[in-house]
Point group: C2
């Protein structure tokens, strides 16, 4: 799943205020729609937010795969970020017709093209199911606990959606297990690309400017939701307002922040800092070096590498920023003080102490086990395949065959639905770069050998007597998984039949399956389950001590953030909140990635230089919020959030309103570009601004 | 400078015993030859080490650039590691005649080939100059302090060598400034390659087996020192003994450990852990990915990349192991306890407290400044050029021109000698891969922009309106610095004349010169000088509290380590001390890097399978010791140290005799290979084993 949010200044220091877990500081918070602090916001900003306002915004808010978006016309037109759809644009492109480089510019609705695998989900209902979920695990341990929980969650989901494919139902954990919510979505599976600017317009400044501001990026694109071949009617869309934002005006961001880790315990943060992030940074860097060098080897290599490199560099910057935050002694001292306070207050109340126990120490023990298991768990389970799309398919096919061989009662609940979803995914005809597949698979095998050592039995199981590179070459060149029909047929085979296929990539996935399952079981028993059970009691302790006036960690579920248009100052430097379209041409050097897009250069004389291009607000968002509508007090959309500034990266662990900023592309700039650069009268009409 | 030592098991845990700075544990220590614990060793091992024994070993010990070695015949024949001379072998090779792949196998002395830039130095005299050096800085601060120290050190060196080019004189800091020693060396500048096995024999198992054991590597080579065109007479060489080592027998390693950091304060270790090592690991990984992908692009690319990739992967593993040691909470707790104890004992003695003051707090302040300065200091000063050989030359030429323009009194002391050394180096005709130059220079520029940000004035000074890749391409393609004559001529020019050359690489070095000088000044004033002054007092505190029975941190100066042939056990696994030549063929899979070398395969039937190949000892060594003779109680050479095991990597910060091991290639195996694999009767004769 893509969790994307794109903001650069790695060398800057980190000055994160440590939030108290008690009542949130002004403007902090990724609030659920059923617990939004309406009164506080109206009092602070003089706004008139009410339930009807919230419902309207919710109904117009769209969850994409890994991103956020909103309906902005009555005919299912969806505003999101270019970087949220660039992988679709890349898939629709060929060496001859490169929509990434040239933009996706069509004159009629009929020319809109389906984005394979994309979905648009609108949240229609929230039901608290905390009691049912917590009850399901009571009295059980280890794998039995995990199975009971999963079964209950699947039961709730299945019952709520009742097999109606127009909906999706998801039980989501909030407050690290303090609450469980059933989220029901109206779901659209036919999502088409309606408009995308040139990559160089959307991503001007590239990785160096990513997570940076001032910024000059048209990181916007339009999709459209279809059903039965027709555009979906969306009367509850947001009104498009192409006006310039005003300094200080209140702004609301509705979207799906992916993950924050503000409620983790100190022991969890320390392992993140000492083990997980270093490993991600180190391995990610080497893969980055491999991909960049490959991309420089030719035009086609460069073309197919655009999205993978963007994704990796974006993640790298996020991890680096997170690591810097966790390495700040003052920040960690704050986290320690906060945890100590909560533990003291629990200890001071015998009844509460009795109910909560000592989940912090339980988590410490789980983290100690995790330190031993994490490297093999990563290499054999979570990072298996190294991002090779074909290996992912092989692994899915093998997983289904293995599960099917179990007696019915022992199969994963929801198995049939999972198979159906897998089939749909396997049938999607998406282009696969065999070069990139070789790079990714070979990289995974090579790092697995490096980190587990050549004499590890799991490494020997994977490699036999082959080298990582040799095996990757043989498996990718020899597999037939690049044919959708072969994949679909393979999904119906049992393990024995899969073996008989003699497909080298399926064979590799088969070889890894037992050892991956063993590690998953061990991780669950020693880390996963104990952490889940303990975290639930930490959350209960927080509710007991600080009350309900809290927002949960981000879980890629719909949230509303409030804030205002504001620049910031850091180490004596004032950063104003706006950039203007004319500024693009001043910043452009002509050398990539600081070359202005060709269509922008061609339209330079027509573009109004004083149109606000990008701006920053104090809204509290994180990766996954990309594409979120930025909404004014009247409920109209005035921009799309596409990034955070460099200080926002510490936002994973805490929000500091003095420097943490959301970066937005204005509706004013999008409108100006549709009119002057990309000549899109039909979209301007649909947005009501022709 | 190459500091090489090559041992793999990144995923292993770390169990470092924390050494007390008080009397060293048995077998711990990199002892100077003027403070070797003769009595303790003789008592422990029943040996009869005396001053004559020490003198003989010292006179046979050779310091190479970045490595160690020994004389093993009366005619200047030098034993070292293959990996210490692989860059020479690479330089002597061409696409047609690849000595790296095929080995350097010649039948006569006349065919031996000079290794450009290599030197062989034999330590002849040690003089304590502590009082003179410490007196020179007294009463001064900042730049004046640094200048006074440098001047005094240069004066001592110049006076000792008196311009005699057959000697080199170096004032070396010991105990982090607790002692200063004048080391006088007999120096040989004409060092020629006499023998090298195939790379695949020397480095069987490649990076995966590096820092690993059991091991099957013929990491040995022979050089020869010449003077006036003739082999140097070396009557005081070590006797070559081709016998097998015995389990438990005492072993001595004489060589030049490069750097240890066992005496750093906690504040210094923490910045190393939190800032310096992470940055090295992350940037090193990306460069590794770039080089590996480049090397896979063709045969010639693979050929020229062998040594750069070996060097980088070796360094990466060292940094990773160091980082794991510093991330071990128990290890750091031990360091903290040790520091606290020393501080308490100083505080308990008013006179001592008066003399020592609080250098620990002074170092904390310097480290705080270093946290701010380190990233720009690295990118603009220490890592400038990214390892591009041509940029290094440009920078040297620019540095000389800038220094020459200063009034004579303000010039660096020893300027003329430095210019002469630079001229010699610039005149060396070594092949340069323009592809690798582009990769390195482009990587440096790109990371500098990434870490300092695109809007940093120093980045703008470097790049102007160019991209890192574009500038690297233009500078490397356009420079004439690949011509030795051009380099020599440029060295005589002043800055104005250099500018007039319009050489794009010299221009780049000129653009960086001012900002690099400014950062060096600031670093010296805020970090370097305060740390030096404080560390001297920490060292004095240690002497006062614990006495003189200590060894200093490694400083790439001659040391003697004692120990014995021993395997180890870790987490219940027993590792025996020996491998045998027959084991090579069992471990070989045929897939690189686990393919046996061709000449070995061809000679398989002749090779005696029970000859000890590699073995491990408890000697305390570190990178820079590579090539060191392993000497028995009789003073005969029985192997060459070429690696440490994975546990040795924490040896930078502390020695744990239960698991820290030196990895050795036996003289028995080298003899067997000279006889059966490489057919070198002349060398066998010279070694007295024909």
């Amino acid at each position: 799943m893509k969790i994307r949010l794109t903001a650069s200044a790695l060398a800057l220091g980190w000055a994160l205020a440590v939030l108290s877990t008690a009542p949130a500081a002004a403007e902090e918070g990724m609030w659920t729609f059923d617990n939004f602090p309406i009164a506080r916001v109206n009092q602070t900003y003089g706004t008139r937010i009410d339930q009807a306002w919230l419902d309207r915004v919710r109904e117009a808010s769209v969850r994409l795969r890994g991103c956020s978006a909103s309906f902005v016309s009555p005919k299912g037109l969806i505003l999101t970020n270019h970087h949220c759809v660039v992988s679709c644009i890349q898939e629709l492109s060929t060496a001859e017709q490169d929509y990434v480089a040239n933009g996706f510019l069509v004159a009629t609705r009929e020319e809109e093209r389906a984005c394979p695998g994309q979905t648009a989900e609108v949240l229609t209902e929230i039901v608290d199911v905390t009691d049912q979920v917590l009850a399901a695990g009571a009295g059980l341990e280890g794998a039995a606990f995990a199975a009971a929980r999963t079964a209950e969650i699947n039961r709730i989901q299945d019952e709520a959606c009742a097999g109606d494919s127009r909906f999706s139902c998801q039980v989501i954990s909030f407050y690290r297990g303090g609450r469980y919510g059933l989220y029901k979505f109206r779901r659209y599976d036919d999502v088409r690309l309606a408009f995308a600017p040139e990559f160089q317009a959307a991503f001007f400044g590239g990785d160096p400017d990513n997570f940076n501001f001032p910024r000059y990026a048209l990181d916007a694109a339009f999709l459209r939701a279809y059903e039965n071949g027709q555009p979906v009617a969306t009367p509850n869309h947001l009104t498009w307002n192409p006006r310039a934002p005003q300094a200080g005006e209140p702004t609301f961001v509705s979207g799906n922040p992916g993950t924050t880790q503000r409620l983790l315990t100190v022991a969890q943060l320390e392992r993140l800092r000492d083990q997980q992030l270093p490993l991600q940074l180190i391995q990610g860097s080497e893969l980055r070096g491999r991909l960049l060098t490959y991309a420089a080897s030719g035009d086609e290599a460069a073309r197919v590498s655009v999205d993978p490199i963007f994704g990796l560099e974006n993640s790298f910057k996020v991890w680096y920023g997170q690591q810097q935050a966790l390495l700040d002694p003052a920040f960690m001292a704050g986290k320690r003080a906060e945890e100590a306070e909560l533990r003291e207050r629990v200890a001071a109340d015998p009844a509460l102490q009795q109910r909560i126990g000592d989940p912090w120490t339980e988590i410490e023990a789980a983290e100690l086990a995790a330190r031993d298991l994490a490297v093999p768990f990563r290499q054999i389970v979570t990072a298996a395949g190294g991002g090779s799309a074909l290996y992912g398919m092989a692994n899915a096919i093998v997983g289904v065959a293995r599960e099917r061989e179990k007696p019915e009662g022992q199969r994963n609940p929801g198995f049939d639905a999972a198979v159906a979803r897998t089939r749909t995914r396997l049938l999607e005809e998406t282009p696969v770069s065999m070069d990139l597949e070789r790079i990714r698979l070979g990289f995974w095998l090579s790092k697995t050998r490096e980190y587990l050592t050549v004499d590890d039995v799991r490494v020997r199981t994977l490699l036999g007597r082959e080298s990582p590179e040799g095996l990757a070459e043989r498996a990718i060149s020899g597999t037939r998984l690049d044919e959708a029909a072969f994949r679909a047929a393979a999904l119906d085979l049992n393990v024995e039949q899969l073996v008989a296929l003699n497909d080298p990539l399926i064979d590799l996935a088969l070889r890894n399956a037992d050892q991956a399952a063993a590690l998953q079981t061990e991780w669950g028993a020693r880390v996963g389950v104990p952490s889940t059970r303990a975290a639930e009691r930490v959350a209960q302790a927080r509710f007991a001590v600080y009350g309900d006036n809290q927002y949960p960690d981000a879980t890629f579920s719909l949230r509303l953030s409030y804030g205002s248009v504001q620049g910031w100052s850091y180490r004596g430097v004032e950063v104003p909140p706006f950039t203007y379209m004319g500024g693009l041409f001043e910043r452009a050097t002509g050398a990539a990635p600081f070359n202005a897009a060709e269509d922008f250069l061609a339209s330079r004389d027509q573009i109004e230089s004083r149109v606000v291009y990008n701006y920053v607000t104090t809204n509290d968002i994180i990766g996954g919020n990309s594409g979120s509508p930025v909404i004014d007090a009247e409920g109209q959309v005035i921009g799309a959030a596409f990034d955070g500034n460099i200080h926002s990266l510490g936002g994973s662990f805490g929000y500091d309103g003095s420097v943490n900023r959301t970066v937005v592309v204005s509706t004013a700039a999008v409108t100006e570009a549709l009119r002057k650069v990309y000549d899109q009268p039909r979209l301007l009409r649909e947005l009501g601004v022709d």
